[in-house]
């Protein structure tokens, strides 16, 4: 009896284990069609816009979706989006459409389909011809993804501190600095360590600091970003005066102390607390300074400083990529309906609505110039206005990965610590980067560096 009971329990346990294991292996053959409505799944990694998109998609499902027989199942996967997507693609459980990442890898592994091959795709793409770039949106002449929103840069400044320090124009309005030298002087005037007020905050622990505060502003004072399409080489000589201004700020002690231990989140929180005069920021920082760390001071947004106001170029704007179509989706879903969903996510109407709610900036100022914003979105409008003086950055040639110059760590270890001159560092950076580029193209003779060159490149403001 005892033995039988044991045996029965063993069999039940084994069966349960097998069922449990097998359920993990099952293919989720969700009914894609229910009452004549096709469910199209879309995954995103954008948590910040979750509520906005959920509402917009609900509206779509209730109106256009019902008419066309489409139901969009939109899911936000959060921070580990890329890892989740890669796993889903490998196991064949990826959604029908998803926000793009590592496009070249997706294309070469045949995970996604070109828009050109979709019904009405070629016609639809004509509208975006000036935005799509080979290697960025297209491969071998086929377009896989469209740029959908912009991210731009600006200098955020604490208006209260500017007024208190008397850095104002004849109307009493704060006067943000226009050049990096002025940035240094302004930071000095704003600093009052007895009151724990500091001119600027430099989050040096953040691994993106050098790119954010020194490299990306480069386009507005050098006329190109890192690689000169005209001179056909990486050229960092224009960084010298900018780096020297930051070293001047260090010398003046007009930055929030303990910079090497400060991450960007902590820096944004300090700015929001009202103790910091200025910070270089991205347009998405608007949401951070209104929702995550609501600013306790009156703040504004100014264009990035330049080196010489007579030689200004358009600021760097990066276009964020939209959704791509899973090649497997075409096996089970209607192409026409998938294309309708694609058009919805790339529509101007959605872009304008996202702008109105402070979620995303469109590609061009023209799209939103007539939109009136509420008072709470004042700084968002100031960021958007910078679209007029912004342009997408030039593409840069690839570099041999193991020979790449670790610019931020090299800068902090050698220049910020005072062990190396700015000139020597910039030369080392330039030489190493050009060498790494040469090594890459020697190892990849099938690729041509000439595609990055453009003798007519000119983005002067």
């Amino acid at each position: 009896m005892k033995v039988n009971f044991k045996r029965t329990m063993c069999i039940i346990t084994v069966l349960l284990l097998i069922v449990g294991v097998m359920s993990g292996c099952s293919k989720d053959k969700q009914t894609s069609t229910k009452n004549g409505v096709q469910t199209i799944t879309v995954w995103s990694g954008h948590s910040h816009s979750k509520q906005f998109f959920e509402k917009a998609i609900n509206d779509f499902n209730r109106n256009t979706g019902e008419k066309l027989g489409i139901y969009i199942d939109y899911q936000v996967k959060g921070e580990s989006y890329v890892q989740m997507m890669e796993l889903a693609l490998q196991s064949g459980d990826a959604p029908d459409m998803f926000y793009s990442f590592n496009l070249q890898k997706l294309v070469e592994n045949n995970h996604i389909v070109p828009i050109d091959d979709m019904p009405g795709g070629e016609e639809y793409l004509k509208k975006y011809a000036k935005y799509v770039v080979e290697g960025d949106n297209c491969f071998d002449g086929k377009t896989y993804v469209l740029p959908i929103t912009s991210t731009i840069r600006g200098l955020v400044y604490n208006k209260d501190m500017f007024k208190e320090a008397g850095i104002v124009d004849e109307n009493g309005e704060p006067l943000p600095p226009k050049t990096f030298e002025e940035l240094r002087e302004t930071a000095k005037k704003l600093t009052n360590s007895n009151k724990t007020k500091y001119g600027i905050i430099l989050p040096l622990k953040w691994s993106g600091w050098f790119a954010s505060d020194i490299l990306q502003p480069m386009q507005s004072y050098a006329g190109f970003w890192q690689y000169s399409p005209v001179d056909e080489k990486y050229d960092f000589s224009s960084l010298v005066p900018v780096i020297n201004s930051f070293l001047g700020i260090k010398e003046d002690k007009s930055f929030f102390p303990g910079a090497e231990g400060i991450e960007n989140d902590a820096a944004r929180a300090q700015f929001a607390a009202g103790n910091i005069g200025m910070k270089l920021a991205y347009s998405f920082d608007f949401a951070v300074l209104t929702n995550q760390f609501p600013a306790t001071c009156d703040w504004g947004v100014a264009p990035l400083p330049v080196v010489d106001t007579d030689n200004c170029y358009k600021q760097l704007a990066s276009y964020d990529k939209g959704i791509v179509i899973n090649s497997k989706a075409l096996e089970t879903k209607d192409k026409e309906l998938i294309m309708e969903v694609f058009k919805f996510f790339n529509s101007d109407e959605l872009a304008v609505e996202a702008y109105k709610q402070g979620i995303n900036l469109p590609l061009e100022w023209e799209t939103i110039k007539d939109v009136e914003l509420s008072d709470e979105l004042k700084q968002w409008g100031e960021f958007a206005k910078l679209l007029e003086i912004s342009a997408p950055y030039n593409r840069t040639p690839k570099q041999e990965a193991s020979a790449k110059f670790d610019v931020q760590n090299e800068f902090l270890a050698n220049v910020w610590s005072g062990e190396e001159s700015t000139e020597a560092f910039v030369k080392r950076y330039e030489d190493q980067t050009n060498l790494a580029t040469k090594q890459y193209y020697e190892a990849h003779p099938e690729e041509d560096i000439a595609e990055f060159n453009d003798k007519n490149w000119n983005i002067r403001r």
Binding site: G258, S402, N409
Partner: protein, 314 residues
């Protein structure tokens, strides 16, 4: 005849039972063995294979490069070797402090103090705190406006606040302090367990012979716990050499990569999700992992060789 037939039946029964037991044993170890091959052997072979390739996940960039990755590692990538130097420095600073502190506390707790159980729990507590939380706590404590600077200034030990994360020396100090706080409790437990095995009779005899406390420690306690201590030290050495996320959350390898240990450097540069790059040089990272594994293996073997005497003291 009957006897023979019974004997044969018994032998058959035993053989059958033995076969059943063998099958059961194989069935029981099957799952861990499969897990070992899938989650340990396969990733190791995968790492060895890709260490010979230029590989970043993009098919058109993938190519066989032979030993190129290893050659670059030994001839160009000095940051990796500096990270090894930092790792050894960190280990040299941390392990003696950690083990000495753990030993003192374990001896105190072993002497039947009141509330010993409570203290044991308190000392062990930091070990269960997540590394991310420890990073936040110590970043805040050692921040420019943090409690450490405030206390030292108030006590008159320093004139002005120290920027703890601005130089390698001070940032390494923060790492050592935080790391000792995090792990010494575990060593207290190990040493306490070893101490309970030392017979009270030996101490009693020593006391009758007029041996003082220091002599008791060096001539009785230490030699008797030496075999266990050998293992504790090995675990401490390997744990310290493999320190990874602790560095990433506390200093991020800064200032300027000067506090990168080799594991944190490897993670920050080549592990998807940690590195900034969308297509990190995984092949090169694999070659770095292979060399790191070999070097750690050499450390473990060398330690076992040199510490052999510890297991034969008594």
């Amino acid at each position: 005849m009957v006897c023979l037939s019974n004997k044969k039946r018994n032998t058959n029964g035993m053989q059958k039972r033995r076969r059943t037991v063998t099958i059961q044993a194989y069935a029981m170890i099957a799952l861990p063995i499969i897990g070992f091959f899938v989650f340990t052997v396969y990733p190791i072979l995968w790492t060895f294979r890709w260490s010979l390739f230029n590989y970043n996940g993009i098919p058109s960039d993938t190519m066989f490069v032979g030993l190129d990755n290893f050659i670059k590692l030994f001839t160009i990538d000095f940051t990796y070797w500096k990270a090894w130097g930092n790792t050894l420095l960190f280990a040299l600073c941390k392990i003696p402090i950690e083990l000495a502190l753990a030993m003192v506390i374990a001896l105190m707790l072993n002497s039947k103090v009141k509330g010993g159980g409570l203290f044991r729990s308190i000392f062990y507590l930091p070990n269960v705190v997540s590394v991310a939380i420890i990073g936040l706590i110590f970043s805040s404590m050692f921040g420019y406006f943090g409690i450490i600077n405030a206390t030292l200034t108030r006590l008159g030990i320093i004139n002005g606040a120290i920027d703890w994360f601005a130089s390698k020396r001070t940032a390494m100090t923060v790492l050592v302090v935080a790391s000792v706080w995090n792990t010494f409790g575990l060593n207290v437990m190990y040493i306490l367990a070893a101490l309970t095995n030392v017979s009270e009779d030996l101490y009693e005899s020593a006391r009758l012979d007029g041996v003082n406390s220091i002599q008791k420690f060096f001539y009785i306690t230490l030699p008797l716990i030496a075999p266990v201590f050998q293992t504790i030290l090995l675990l401490s050495i390997l744990g310290t050499l493999c320190v990874n996320e602790f560095v990433l959350v506390l200093t991020g390898g800064g200032p300027g990569g000067k506090t990168f240990t080799m594991m944190s450097y490897l993670t920050k540069q080549f592990v998807p999700g940690f590195t900034e790059s969308m297509s990190p040089a995984l092949g090169y990272g694999c070659s770095m992992s292979v060399i790191t594994t070999l070097l750690l293996g050499i450390v473990a073997v060398a330690y076992n060789r040199f510490s052999e005497k510890m297991s034969n003291l008594y």
